[in-house]
């Protein structure tokens, strides 16, 4: 008889716990890493040096600096111990609630994203990196020889819609923060954020409709499975190959949705101080910043999953590489999982890098330019892309 834990199979419970912990832990870590790389990368590309002073003193007069990474810890401590300034807010409850509206949607959207393919538990524990654990490989081989799980927190069949739904919630964070701060600048920032996010959500959704049409699904897992197939026997059917135009539309509207440079009108510090979080101080401000960094990482994850085949490595199937010229290279299951995970993270890191690079290279739009770009260029182009895609799909093109 199988052991259960609150009615759930214990092994299922533990694997899900490990996956959820790992994926959400990854997102939080990326929040810290992005705030570090924002400093250091911008410094490098502007011929500066960046944060390099804060350090943990070591015996012997040296100090552990980890290329400025300790600065993050110093910042966190600073934000925890400094004065928690509260404005004479119109609505203090909403003022505090806004942080969570901004922070939680940024984190939970990642639940539907697969980080690697299907993992066969018994075979995974035969791999070189888990074999050494005493007892477990033998236990899984005898008791659970056919247990398979997915490296995905929630296997929703409405995955992409879930991402959009949760993404729209973060508008509330901005508008509540701006409204409850009782500050004109905050209100202006909130209005800007609200109209910008709603405008660009339309363009973003329409850009992705082409993808949904081609792969005939909104389930993120099936989307990635669809991208693992090959066209003409050698070209991976990645989203960038089938929908190159939608990729550019998506990346533009996703950055706008994320309120990052060159679309950071809601936080334009030269005009409206810090936008909708002007009145937030200390750790509350840090939460907004942290949410923003996690959102960048999530945009990179979305680009990877929708346009660059997610975790898939070209030609890599469950048993090894099936090269287009007919050769076959066997890869053990443990290594396949590692390769898929590595492929996913490499793509994500690359797009994080690219988004940061864009953020520090481009000047800010004017607000009317922003609205004109969203409604008069991106939206019609997304519609055009959708129409062309639909016609091709209807003619049996893909």
């Amino acid at each position: 008889m199988e052991s259960t834990f609150f009615g759930i199979n214990t092994v299922t419970f533990i694997t899900n716990l490990v996956i959820a912990g790992g994926i959400f832990g990854f997102m939080f870590t990326m929040g810290a890493v992005m705030s570090w790389s924002e400093r250091k990368q911008s410094a490098q590309l502007q011929d500066r040096i960046g944060a390099n002073r804060a350090g943990i003193p070591l015996p012997g007069g040296k100090s552990l600096k980890v290329w400025g990474f300790i600065n993050n810890i110093a910042d966190a401590i600073k934000c925890l111990v400094k004065e928690d300034f509260k404005p004479r807010a119109y609505d203090l409850f909403m003022y505090n609630l806004a942080i969570f509206f901004a922070f939680i949607p940024a984190v939970i959207s990642v639940a539907v994203i697969p980080f690697a393919g299907e993992v066969h538990l018994a075979e995974l524990f035969q791999s070189w990196y888990l074999k050494w654990i005493p007892g477990l490989p033998e236990y899984f081989a005898t008791n659970l020889p056919n247990y398979v799980f997915r490296v995905q927190v929630a296997n929703l069949n409405v995955g992409l819609l879930f991402v959009f739904a949760v993404g729209s919630i973060s508008v509330f964070g901005a508008i509540l923060a701006g409204w409850s701060s009782n500050n004109k600048f905050s209100m202006m920032g909130a209005l800007r954020a609200c109209s910008q996010m709603i405008s660009y959500e339309v363009a973003m959704g329409l850009a992705l409709l082409g993808i949904i049409f081609i792969y005939q699904t909104v389930d993120v897992w099936s989307l990635v499975q669809g991208q693992r197939e090959l066209a003409f026997g050698w070209l991976p059917k990645w989203g960038i190959v089938l929908q190159p135009f939608a990729f550019f539309l998506f990346i533009a509207s996703a950055v706008a949705e994320n309120k990052r440079m060159p679309f950071d009108l809601p936080e334009a510090e030269s005009e409206i101080i810090s936008g909708y979080y002007t009145e937030y101080s200390a750790f509350k401000m840090l939460m907004f910043m942290f949410a923003e960094f996690i959102e960048i990482c999530f945009v990179a994850i979305m680009i990877t999953t929708l346009f660059f085949g997610g975790y898939s490595v070209p030609y890599l199937m469950a048993d090894g590489f099936h090269w287009p010229w007919g050769a076959f290279t066997a890869v053990s299951h443990g290594n396949v999982v590692l390769l898929e995970l590595g492929s996913f993270l490499t793509k994500v890191f690359f797009f994080c890098f690219l988004l940061q690079q864009a953020r520090w290279s481009l000047p800010r739009f004017r607000y009317d330019q922003l609205m004109r770009l969203g409604w008069k260029y991106l939206l019609p182009l997304a519609l055009l892309n959708l129409v062309v895609t639909v016609i091709i799909v209807a003619l049996g093109g893909f």
Binding site: Q44, L45, Q46, D47, R48, I49, F248, Q357, A358, S361
Partner: protein, 185 residues
């Protein structure tokens, strides 16, 4: 705005480049900009990874600029005689001339019979000093000069910024008379 001059059909005040289609779709220009910054990024990273300094900035307290002009007016130096006493004769010309009024001199009688006076107190409030160099120009006996560097002109409170005679002398205790050290018109 460009404006056409009457009678000169092709001339405009501002000869602005026409935007091409490539500029207007914005995408290529973004890519070009990102490529430039990426080039800088990787060049600096390559320098760091090969244990050289990437970037052009100076890590200030550890590093000093090597290219200070010799005429730069930095911190003040009270020039010494060969026996170590200040060359200053406490004439107070520098204090009189000082537009910021940051020099305080209290004179006393010198032990040396050839010299009439010497400074008992010679203080410069660097936080008020505007580094104009008038004190150096006013000095009749070349007793005060200004070094080209400005390092260590920093403090946590304003009293730290008042430099007394000893400090001003021991910054560069001996100055070779043959070499013009710092600002000395």
């Amino acid at each position: 705005m460009s404006q056409q001059i009457p009678g000169l059909p092709d001339m405009t005040y501002i000869d602005r480049e026409k935007r091409t289609f490539l500029d207007q779709i914005y995408f290529w220009e973004i890519t070009r900009g990102i490529l430039i910054t990426t080039k800088h990024f990787f060049r600096n990273m390559a320098k760091w990874l090969t244990f050289r300094k990437g970037g052009v900035v100076i890590l200030y307290p550890e590093e000093m600029r090597p290219d200070y002009s010799q005429n730069n007016r930095g911190r003040h130096i009270l020039v010494q005689r060969s026996d170590g006493s200040p060359r200053c004769v406490a004439c107070k010309m520098c204090a009189t001339n000082c537009p910021a009024e940051c020099i305080t001199i209290v004179a006393e009688e010198s032990d040396d019979s050839n010299i009439q006076k010497r400074p008992k107190v010679f203080e410069i409030d660097v936080s008020r000093c505007i580094f104009c160099g008038f004190c150096v120009e006013a000095c009749p006996v070349d007793a005060i000069r200004m070094a080209p560097t400005t390092e260590e002109l920093a403090g946590y409170n304003r009293f730290r910024m008042i430099y007394d005679k000893k400090t001003l002398m021991t910054w560069k205790p001996t100055v070779n008379d043959d070499v013009v050290h710092g600002y000395n018109p």
